[in-house]
Symmetry: C2
Amino acid sequence: MAQRTHACGEVTAAHQGEQVVLKGWVQKRRDLGGLIFVDMRDRTGIIQVVFGDQAKDALEVAEKIRSEYVIEVTGKVVLRDASQINNNIKTGEIEVLAETLTIINEAKTPPFAIEDKVEVSEDLRLKYRYLDLRRPVMFDTFKMRSDVTVTIRNFLQQEGFLEVETPILTKSTPEGARDYLVPSRVHEGEFYALPQSPQLFKQLLMVSGFEKYFQIARCFRDEDLRADRQPEFTQVDIETSFMSMDEIIEMNERLIQAVMKEVKGIEVQAPFQRMSYEEAMARYGSDKPDVRFGLELIQLSDIVKDSSFKVFSGAIENGGEVKAINVKGAAYNYSRKDIDALGEFAAIYKAKGLAWLKVTEEGLNGPIAKFFEGEMADKLIERTGAEAGDLLLFGADQSTIVADALGALRLKLGKELGLIDESKFAFLWIVDWPLFEYDEEEGRYYAAHHPFTRPFDEDIELMDTNPAAVRAQAYDIVLNGYELGGGSLRIYEPELQNKMFKLLGFTEEEAHEQFGFLLEAFEYGVPPHGGLAFGLDRFVMLLAGRTNLRDTIAFPKTATASCLLTSAPSTVADAQLEELNLAVTAVKKD
Amino acid sequence: MAQRTHACGEVTAAHQGEQVVLKGWVQKRRDLGGLIFVDMRDRTGIIQVVFGDQAKDALEVAEKIRSEYVIEVTGKVVLRDASQINNNIKTGEIEVLAETLTIINEAKTPPFAIEDKVEVSEDLRLKYRYLDLRRPVMFDTFKMRSDVTVTIRNFLQQEGFLEVETPILTKSTPEGARDYLVPSRVHEGEFYALPQSPQLFKQLLMVSGFEKYFQIARCFRDEDLRADRQPEFTQVDIETSFMSMDEIIEMNERLIQAVMKEVKGIEVQAPFQRMSYEEAMARYGSDKPDVRFGLELIQLSDIVKDSSFKVFSGAIENGGEVKAINVKGAAYNYSRKDIDALGEFAAIYKAKGLAWLKVTEEGLNGPIAKFFEGEMADKLIERTGAEAGDLLLFGADQSTIVADALGALRLKLGKELGLIDESKFAFLWIVDWPLFEYDEEEGRYYAAHHPFTRPFDEDIELMDTNPAAVRAQAYDIVLNGYELGGGSLRIYEPELQNKMFKLLGFTEEEAHEQFGFLLEAFEYGVPPHGGLAFGLDRFVMLLAGRTNLRDTIAFPKTATASCLLTSAPSTVADAQLEELNLAVTAVKKD
């Protein structure tokens, strides 16, 4: 075989008259009888090759080739007739007059066409992933993913960070209900666990004085899967010593700016907006608000608390609240049926109904309008900024339900009404998180982030008196309504860490059993430290303008954690289990 | 806390008179009564801080600090008296007159000193790995490791390679006797396997037309461990399409040159030496020869085949051979006892004894000298280039045993006699490998590399007639006697791949069951492809001049695959096993 001289997509009019050797796949063949046009593809693009009388042997071979055959072509670059120029492809001004053609490999007809737009089930694409990945849009996504990681690595190396690999075979932790386990052959009855994150190791590296660590790390979580979750995912994991929260945030802003510049050619302004958790929940009903559009939640409890509409006043009496979103100009577009559908949507988020009012020139209108008259109506209109043609949608319930339901409605309507500038990348920090979450059912506190998160110094004394009010030195980075990542400063004082474990209900023995090595490490001089982790898969998804996380992972798993390509997981030989001293206690019912 | 202004190791005479804020660890404290000197350490180095009358409060605090306390110091940089200058450290010309001292964290006395040279067991170092990693030599190794990966990634990206992540949770393969298994919770009785390498996925990416793939990939092998093996290890994994073996080799030479230049400042000459497998075995008794020194194996079978010394003539009669190494000038240094010890060493490699001759002015000398007189002695002396004072050591056995024993003796003596230039990096390609290995016991052929390795085109027809003679288009890269990596061109024709499986004893069904998805992929137009994988851990070990692979892995496992720091593997809760439908059939006897 001859050595390739050019990539298909890179031949232009500048190469006119040159002799080329191309290698790639047959995208399409058109046989005009004595003249055959072949669109030839490699990862750089498509080029048109013409087989004709100029090389009868090649023409003869060209009659045999079919889509997806692998071929080698030698020939000469010529300009196309003006009428034949195709401005849709980079090589559209030229074509190659073939001199020789070699079939390197044949191909069966693929189960779907190798084109950006395919109308087949995702399952079929996953089963034939190697063909799915031939589609240019897929290659471009993985090219972008690779570029993103190169940019991140170069940025962090220049900042003095070391990439350090931490173990994949490690120890199961108490939060480990969702650990993947790996039986040990050497140590009977014992197991490794795959890490849910390198959290403990990155903190240990700070104890080691590495000061600036990062890793693009594979993480594992055996949880019930949703559309945007995968059993294994990739995290950009960063930890530093001696840096304040502001310094960490500022550095990560520069990191994101570098990625946006390098990969998207976009200059993102810094500092990014910062918003407290409380404000985000109040205004957007979400801890990861999409701030590319308004449609904010409006607090109305004070206005309607004495309303004769019992749904409202009752919700407030029960400790809940009443809020609304003002859907500008939607009064005439949304029929009663449409609004009922919105109510059903809100019900997914546990809203018991969706009260609404239309605003007309004559005032409020709708089944519950009668409850809001006079001053109360004026105040409602004033607070919501309502004008004729607006539609007010209400939530009246416990505040978490109001936030969830109106927050979800806001997103749905934002999309439906085209309020979102899809070309925008709106980065946002959410700060001032609560350190604890209270579990009503179990009557105990949980760590809102993880048990190593550092409280605000001035809130430490509240840990004894009012844990719910303790704020964490934690920060989430949000992009266009997605949680991109998050992090925190960590506790570095052994006493404070012990206090934290106690508050979370660990006995001293349990804390020692689970985190003994970390607590012990903390006795040997641990520096103040903190860090951040980004979800790489999701970041790439948003940068590439995709909506499916699986499109950013080369060989993803389905919602039941299966690989349709390799048929993993699968049964294994009895001998393998025997050697691991394991028995399967239930067998799959087929 | 104040913001750090300088790293400890970076303050020099150029900073004289400047105000600095330093953060780090106490390396050493010397209390001279009213004057305290503290060596303060961070990852960049050590700086001397002086506490005295200039700041009484700080002096008072300084009395409390101990080794490994984390402290913050503010002060002024001053030049040391000429008599106090320490040229052993970068900051030896200056010291810092302390103004304030804050104890950030206390520390217990560590179980060993934080110094490059520690005289403690490796087990203790591994248990307190976070302290072990504080030793500057360890930090430097991981800094180098990080620099190596950055260099590799930048080089490959510039060459048009994409880094693509392949799954860690994948399918168990037939060669999978040493797979780590991961039980599935969702699919009862089924298992994932951790990959021994991304081999199948990287070939699938070539089917996808990615053309240039790489990954710095974690791999897993549950095999009986040796000093230089780890259950998880890291591999620089490269695969390309449409490139010849020479092109792949040439590109990898440039990659290695880039690493050597960037990380060691050494210009390595290319092309690297290439040697056939046969020649390496013949001359060095090894398929990964250290070519930094001579002491080569010398073939003597033709000379001694009619010797009356039955050990020699008998070995040849039985299909074996006789070879020797000529240890120059060692006749007088090696006593009979020393030589007996060498014989015991050779016995490890199954040599049944170690025949030897000393060369004196008078001729051959030693217990077997009497068997070699006259012409045979002359020929022996001529062939081995022996001179008075030389020691000849013989191997007489099946050729693999001769190679193993003399090859090992050669290495041992090369080190003992100081024949090796330790500053040298001798890269070498081993080529022309056999495609198959014959297993005498099982009476069948095995793939010498793996079943996807491509034979030489001109040897394909030998597959039917004389498989042992078929050469593989495979190449190993060797550095200073270590196998750094290896690779091959792959089979890309479905028929040839099927033929290969048949020769390896797979039934069609078995081949389909194990590699079905790859064989199916091969029906859709697969390009010629090939690649290479380096062992990153070992490469870093050699670059850093270390001899223990564990020193290049941040959190390594012991020879029994345990982590002494986290106590992994460990038992898990019954509930976790129940959810996995698993039972442990044997319990560890404590």
